[in-house]
Amino acid sequence: MNILALKFPEVSQLFYWPDFAFQGTPLAMNKTVLIYLAALVLTLWVFLTAGSKKSLVPSGMSHVAEGGINFVEDSIVMQTMGADGKKYVPFLTTMFFFIFFSNIFEVVPFVQFPANAKMSVPLALSLMVWVIYNYLGVKNQGFFGYMKNSLFPPGVPKALYLIVTPIEFFSVFIIRPLSLAIRLWANMVAGHLLLVTFAVLSATLWDSTYVGAIAPAAMLVIMTAFEIVVSFLQAFIFTILTAVYMGGAIHPEH
């Protein structure tokens, strides 16, 4: 692609990493898989090192783990599910840390790729969330009660159910998991595109004019700070939406 007479890489090239191990098998490894493994190991490391030291006064890694757990409990679970949801805090905390670590590699030097910019893992996570909230709904309200509460929302005039029920079915069982996955994925793709655009712009302008590279380089710094906020916010939003869906399955609206 040529933009402003500058040579830009193709968009699809930004998200393509060749396999370097186990090529041709289902276990093929590329950079994205490595980033996910690193995120997994980091999440495990934070909580295992925090949990191995049994001291009354928290220190070091315990601060990180306890801060994360308190944050998830106070501002996600208590706000959406109430006291009943406290037993889901470990699941939601793990999910929050895993998504955050795989997002934050977007701004880590020499890695600089948000692993969630590939659709596979966001989609798998959202399908897992779909299974979990449907299971919780059927378990807590019974199959017919869950269907009645989610497809026939109370307080709607009888005749309107003709329109409301198909819309509710579509939104609860199809749009919810899809939008959960697309939200995380598209935010990461957009952030990566922004950073790449400004990086390529400043590199090419430095080659040709030197002075022209000042503005895009400044934007690159600002956007990097912005992307740190975004990667935190997307992990938070994914987790809080999961909590909202689970809370809606546990406590039906009356």
Binding site: V11, Q79, V189, I237
Partner: protein, 91 residues
């Protein structure tokens, strides 16, 4: 005469097939731009109402902030679907 028509037709057909890439690019750009209008206004409304609530009742700022992020997430989904279409349409 017929051969002339055939030549014109083939040139026209070629012109049409040559334009698809450009039309795709125009469609992608326009599509994303149009998809971003509504969510832009919507997120503005959501955040404005949340700031209003937070300044009126600072003690319930936590709840307002959580609900604000939820509202932003639901509104933003439309813009993101527009962005996905943009990526898919890129030549």
């Amino acid at each position: 005469m017929l051969s002339l028509l055939a030549t014109t037709y083939s040139i026209l057909a070629q012109a049409v097939t040559d334009n698809t890439e450009g039309l795709k690019a125009i469609g992608a750009g326009l599509g994303y731009g149009l998809a971003a209008i509504g969510p832009g206004v919507g997120i503005g409304v959501v955040v404005a109402a949340a700031i209003d609530a937070m300044t009126r009742q600072p003690e319930s700022a936590g709840t307002a902030r959580t609900t604000m992020f939820l509202g932003i997430a639901f509104t933003e989904a439309l813009a993101l679907i527009g962005f996905v279409v943009f990526i898919l349409l890129l030549p």
